[in-house]
Every structure is written in C-alpha cells, then in structure tokens.
C-alpha cells in the first residue's frame, strides 16, 4: 500500500513519443505549403519582385523610373491604406464593404467646409476622419448589437452614404482648395519628368505612400505587440472561447470597424489632396474589392483569426503593379482584371490548403 499513497503521479504528462510541431512534412507539396504559410509576407514579396522584373523588361526599363513608380506607389498607398484596415476587420471575422463611400464622403465634407465656411483643410480633414470613425461605430453597432452580418450591414451603409454624398451637391465634383503645408504633407501631385529627384515636388509626390507605410507599420505593431491586437486575433479565431475568458469581443469588433472607417476617410482625404478635387464618386465599390483582394493576396484569411498588415501592403503593391504594369506593356486595361482574378483565387486556395494542413497535422 506504500505505492498507493505515493502523493505524486508520473512526473510529466503530455510527453508523447511524437513531439507536436516537429513532425516533418510528408510530401514536397506539403513542404511547399509549410514554407509558404510560415513566410507569408516573404512569399508574396517574391511574387512582387518577379512582377517588377517582368514589367521592367517588358517595358524596356520604364517601370523602374521615378515617374512611373510614383504612379504605382500612389495606387499602392491608396489601396494599402484601405487594405490594411480591412485586414484588422477580417481578422475579427468581419468585413467592411462601405469603405468606398466613406472614401468619397470624408474629403467631400472637408472641401465643402473649406469653401462654404472657410474651415482650414486640416480641421476639415480631422472632421472627415471623425466622420469615418462614426460610420465605423454605426457599422459596428448594427453588426454586433442587432446581429446583422457585416457583409449586409456594410452594403446597407455603402448605399446610404453613397446616396448622401451624391445628393449633397447633385454629384458635382468640386475643385479642392490648395493650402500649404497641408497639400505638401498629404501629397499634392505626381512627379513630373522635369522634376529633379531631390526637389520639394519630388518628395511630396511620394508622401501619400509614406503615410500608408506609416499606417501599416502602426497597425502591424498594434496587431503583434498590444493587448488589443491579441484580442482582435482571439475574437476572430474562437469567439466563444474569447468571450469565456473575458475578451470583450463586441467592443473589439466595433473598434476595428472604427479603424476601418477612419482609415478609409484618411485615404479619401489624401486622394483629394493629391488631385485637388473632391469627387462624390471618387471611391467606387470596386476600390473596396481591390483592397480586399490586396489583403487576401497578402495572406489574410477571410475566415478570421489570422492576417498580416505588412502582407496587405505588399498585396496592394502587387495589385497596383498589375493594374499599371499591364497597361504599360501594352495590354488592354481590362486584362489586368483577369490576372487579378486568378491571383485572388490562387491566394484563397492557398489559404484554405494551409488551414487544412494545419488541421491535419494537429493530432
């Protein structure tokens, strides 16, 4: 009976002969999947580099000129800003299809305030961003309180806001006033062939892209190094479990809708500063879809629980490169959609395959 009263059972548990996570992949196919899933951003970066090389040769060296790059980076910036905001939402398992209308609305209000009431652009921009954040609150509350799927909620607010902005001034584009240093800070116009690389004009031509890089870096930090980021992932990965352990999943979702709205407004304002024009139709739903495509290509799952901010910026670069590069090498503008469609499908298949592989290797 001495043995029976031994106070401690076997020293360790869980130590099985096969250690988890160390299991070697079985086939080359699995090996490739493992590498792609582990180095998500790196693998999409490789794709981006291949595209750049292809277009550089295809266009007789015209791709890598500051003139052309400023166009690609401008588009990357605009798309990336929206894509990265969608990444946060997609990680929580939600999506925002209304961002294009916020993209149009915020700068329109900014310009109207400036023209009609003499409000400085900087103040108007702030008001525009706050407006975008409030749209996020609306989307978020309807989604979490009334349990309407965000896919539907945001289609509703998309039409609502698009209708409002078109109705305000009979869908007239307005010429936006130019104020310094506001326009210099948020990017006024594109790099011209006669500009010296170190001119004031040349530097400001890239500011929209630099803002996006800043925003992406900030969200990457939030996602991987803050409690909010952790709880965002928890919400999308296992919402019941997250609630059980005390994560305020509803709040987390609303906050991420607010981020998406604010970023969309900011992107719209930058766009208006660049073109000195506020167009009620500046953001089309197509812009939103391209941003979501950029996020998916960058390695964010539509299923929630995982995603990468940096990947979405690279994804935005790939989309912008495809859009502009194909035109430059002489393809019809619409052909880029074919490539984009294929890229999205491949990225989604990869996402799903990686998830299945993880599930299979679990036990």
């Amino acid at each position: 009976m001495v043995l029976a009263t031994k106070p401690h059972p076997p020293a360790t548990i869980g130590a099985t002969t096969r250690r988890v996570g160390v299991k070697t992949p079985d086939s080359i196919y699995e090996k490739v999947l493992v590498i792609l899933s582990r180095y998500r951003e790196a693998s999409i970066a490789v794709v981006a580099i291949i595209l750049v090389i292809y277009f550089q040769f295809g266009s007789n060296g015209e791709f890598l000129t500051s003139q052309f790059l400023s166009v690609v980076l401008r588009d990357t910036g605009r798309l990336g800003l929206i894509a990265v905001a969608e990444v946060m939402l997609m990680i929580t398992g939600e999506i925002d299809l209304s961002v294009s209308s916020t993209f149009s609305l915020a700068p329109y209000i900014m310009v109207l305030l400036s023209i009609d009431l003499g409000v400085p652009l900087a103040i108007g921009a702030l008001i525009g961003v706050v407006l975008g954040v409030l749209v996020g609150v609306l989307n978020g509350i309807i989604t979490v309180r009334f349990r309407v799927p965000s896919l539907i909620t945001t289609v509703g607010t998309l039409f609502l806001l698009q209708g409002i902005v078109v109705w305000i001034d009979d869908s007239q584009p307005i010429v936006a006033p130019v104020e310094e240093p506001f326009n210099a800070i948020f990017g006024q116009s594109l790099y011209g062939p006669s500009d010296s690389l170190f001119s004031w004009h040349a530097i400001t031509a890239f500011t929209p892209f630099l803002w996006t890089v800043l925003a992406v870096a900030a969200l990457a930090l939030v996602l991987s190094r803050t409690t909010f980021g952790l709880h965002t992932i928890a919400t999308g990965s296992n919402i019941v479990g997250a609630r059980e352990i005390g994560v305020r999943t509803d709040r987390i979702k609303v906050y991420n809708f607010m981020i998406a709205g604010g970023f969309a407004a900011f992107a719209g304002i930058i766009n208006t500063a660049q073109f000195s024009s506020a167009d009620p139709q500046a953001g089309s739903p197509f812009l939103t879809l391209q941003a979501i495509a950029a996020a998916v290509i960058g390695g964010t799952s539509l299923l929630g629980g995982s995603g990468t901010a940096i990947g979405s910026l690279i994804g935005a670069f790939v989309v912008a490169t495809l859009n502009n590069g194909l035109v430059m090498v002489g393809a019809q503008a619409t052909v880029s959609d074919i490539y984009l469609g294929i890229a999205i499908l491949l990225a989604m298949i990869l996402n799903v395959q990686v998830n299945r592989l993880r599930a299979r290797r679990r036990i």
Binding site: P7, G14, V20, T226, T227, I233, A234, S237
Partner: protein, 275 residues
Amino acid sequence: MSPAVIPPLAPDAPVILEMSHISKGFGAVTALVDVSIKLRQGEVLALVGDNGAGKSTLIKILSGYHQPDTGTIVSKGKQVHFNSPRDARAIGIETVYQDLALIGDLSIYHNMFMGREYHKRVLGLKLLDNKKMRDLAEVHLKTLGISIPSVNSTVDLLSGGQRQCVAVARSIYASPTILILDEPLAALGVRESAHVLGLIQSLRQQRNVSIILIVHNYNQIFEVCDRINFLHSGEIVLDAATSETSEEELIRIVKSGLGRNAVAAESAETEPGQA
C-alpha cells in the same frame, strides 16, 4: 493517492460561495430551475448529472459568462453580480470550460495570459511584455509537470490532451479562490487523468482553493471530492457528502431520475407489495 491521506473537510469550514434559487432558460429551453448550491472553503464539490442536465450552464453563470434569470450569488458574505467573465476572474474565480476557451491561432503563452497580459512601456507605448509572459508560462508549466514542445507553438498544433493541460494550467496560474473544472478529464489518457487528479488532490490537501468539479466517472468522484451535488433536468436532486453516499445510491438515483428522498419513499412504498 488513497483518499485516506486527506483528512475530511473541517465541519466548521466557512461557506465562501452560495448560489441561491438560480433559474435560467434559453428561449423555450429551461436549463436550470431554482438551483441552490453552497461551496465551503477548501471543499471539492462534484457536480454530476446526465448530458443536458444543466451543469455547464450553472458553472457558466458562476463564471460570469451567462447571467441568471433569477437568483443570487453571494461570495464571502457579499452579493455579487457578474456582467462578464472578467468580473468573476477579478474576484478569483477561474474556470476551465468544457470547450477549454483556448485560442487556436495564438501561442500557448499568449493563451496562458489572455485577459491578464503583462505590459512594458516602450517610448511611452504600452506594449505586450512577450518575453516575461513566455518565461513565466514556461516555468509554470514545468512546475506543474506539463510537457509541451514549446510555449511558442500555437494551440491548434497541440493534441486534445495537451490542450486540456494548458487550460488547467492557465486556470490555476493566478491562485484562484474558486476553481471551476468542467469535464477537465474528457480528452485525457489514463496517465494524464491521473496527473490532473493528483493536481486536484494536492490543491485539496492544502485547502486554500474551493473546487467545483464536473466529472462523469464515479471512481474519480469518490477519490477526490468532499461533496456531491446531483443535477437532473435543471434541478438539484441530491446534495450529500461523499462519505454519506455510495456509488450504488447514485446509480439508483440516476436510474429513477428522482431525488434521494423520492427514491427512499418509492422503495418504502414498493417493499410491502413485494413482501
């Protein structure tokens, strides 16, 4: 591990938790009807009953996940209201849920500290102190004798048993005053079960933490529990010290689907007929 080594709970051990007249329904389904339970300092209370009896619902009310339709919870003499699991955790109630509440996409150490993350200030920003959490998680798991490949690996790479161990480890990390374990042995092998039971037994020996344990195996109940509450169709039909009841009585009550008194009355009625 024979029960003899642990002295019975002192008769004057104070009641630290009382749930009184708790009812809860989900739409048309009535999950709990006027349930009252008492938990004393250092006690290990077994909550038993068939699937669907309402065990998980009851402990989810105590953990703050559900709010009761009626009834009160009194903790250490004070009435408490839990609007969320955060409130319950804040006063030292930790729960291992039946579904474990682990986040598959996050690392083991992030799961361990979910809801009580450590931070550090970097350039004025409040960032996660991942190194600290990683180290603490590693030490904690080692102390408990739980072996996992690395605290960095994500939870969805773990086996069912390993996950259960991680969830149990998380629940006792902050030295709770009340520990709720909802079928913590379900996915465990014989050896792992013995280990977790040993863990419960050593917590019981110290009598610092009160435990509510949901298990189906009667051997395990009689091995580690001081008291049994039997839940049937949302009602408590038996509340007895393990020393005052037996497996046979439990089985009789399960079969009848009625309470102890009802079973006793029934057999008193049938006896003359048989004679």
